[in-house]
Symmetry: C2
Subunit: 252 residues, 2 copies
Amino acid sequence: MVEPITAVALAGIPEARAGDDPAELIAAAMPTGRPLARDVVVVAHKLISKAEGRTRRLSEIVPGGRARELAGRLGKDPRHVQAVLDETREVRRAQRGVLISVTHHGFVCANAGVDASNSPDGDTLILLPVDPDASARRLRDGLRARLGVAPAVVVTDSFGRAWRTGQCDVAIGCAGLRPLEDWRGLADARGRELRATVIAVADELAAAADLARAKDAMQPVVLVGGAGRHVTEADGPGVGALLRDASQDLFR
Amino acid sequence: MVEPITAVALAGIPEARAGDDPAELIAAAMPTGRPLARDVVVVAHKLISKAEGRTRRLSEIVPGGRARELAGRLGKDPRHVQAVLDETREVRRAQRGVLISVTHHGFVCANAGVDASNSPDGDTLILLPVDPDASARRLRDGLRARLGVAPAVVVTDSFGRAWRTGQCDVAIGCAGLRPLEDWRGLADARGRELRATVIAVADELAAAADLARAKDAMQPVVLVGGAGRHVTEADGPGVGALLRDASQDLFR
């Protein structure tokens, strides 16, 4: 028996500033009686990034030659492109106004996750956290310290996908969660083997949470209930398990 | 204000047989007072495929030369490979026991969605519906006729992804749903433009629903509440909108 899933956006979370403690902001917004230890707190990375000071001022960036060349070709601000390059391990594509990057973490996404939307002014770029798994662990520790309960934590971003249009929220960091549910070798309801059935639970949680908030409202945090079978006492492996080794990737 | 999302698997749905009416099976399993017109009924395609007779007996398939060649290389049953080829417009990869196909619908997935797990016996292969959008529309019509309410319908399968390990459920058909939520050009909470923000709502609904069921239980149907802002009176465009034109695909 699987429980119903619930996802509710927390109201009243103020915009994070550098130095803020995400656990403090989130704990203050928790509904009465929550979180349960089996809950999952799903946080849009921008809250974390702002609190961690992972922002840059466009006006302070001096673009180098490669950034200027790419920016000219893409019709972008060379300072923005420099910020993207600084977060990029490998440029996969540079076309139609978009850089597709492999970030230093190993994520494949547009503009290395460097974003100017949802910034408090026109001059701020928001970067991905340096180590989103570590951010998730810190937030989990902070919630445990403040509330006496340690729900799982998932940090998310919206990524475009190969083959399919539109973005889905995916996990870029997690703690206290088994990010993959591995059914290989287990029998299905009819007793037959299930093959190649490894479910990206962390990404499905990110997607479910995204449905519960509007992009034009300040609702970076969604509390997901009913997914307790994926929550672990240990912080666990983080999202590294979700990164497909290029040599194993048949889907590109 | 966005509503909380709820996702609950319907209990007591029997295994579908060829000729069954999915609307009848699902209507009989609905909780009292549901569905609401703003609900989304998310159905694993296997229920639909079985009801539509989209199955084949391995023992009746005579593999051709290409199937035998690929099967030898991949260590697969040549009859299974023939079934995959019959559902395939283009083979993208044939490696490590997996064919990555572009299906006749335009989906990119392993083995063209042809599946032997969850089959009632060892001899049955389950194919994707011929036209999953049409299946979704028929199911919606059937629910309207039986229950007087026409919730949105999403038909799903579990797909692997480029770059990331694990499978996520995605939409392969839908009716009564705006599959993409387009925020481009709309202002965010701070009044700035949101850029390149098109949310694949249909896929996020598929993912959320998958969390509410166990793969080893017969729970092909999940009722999702709280996503009514994406539900439309008209059946709408279906999942065609989710297929990225190869020339526009920078993410591969």
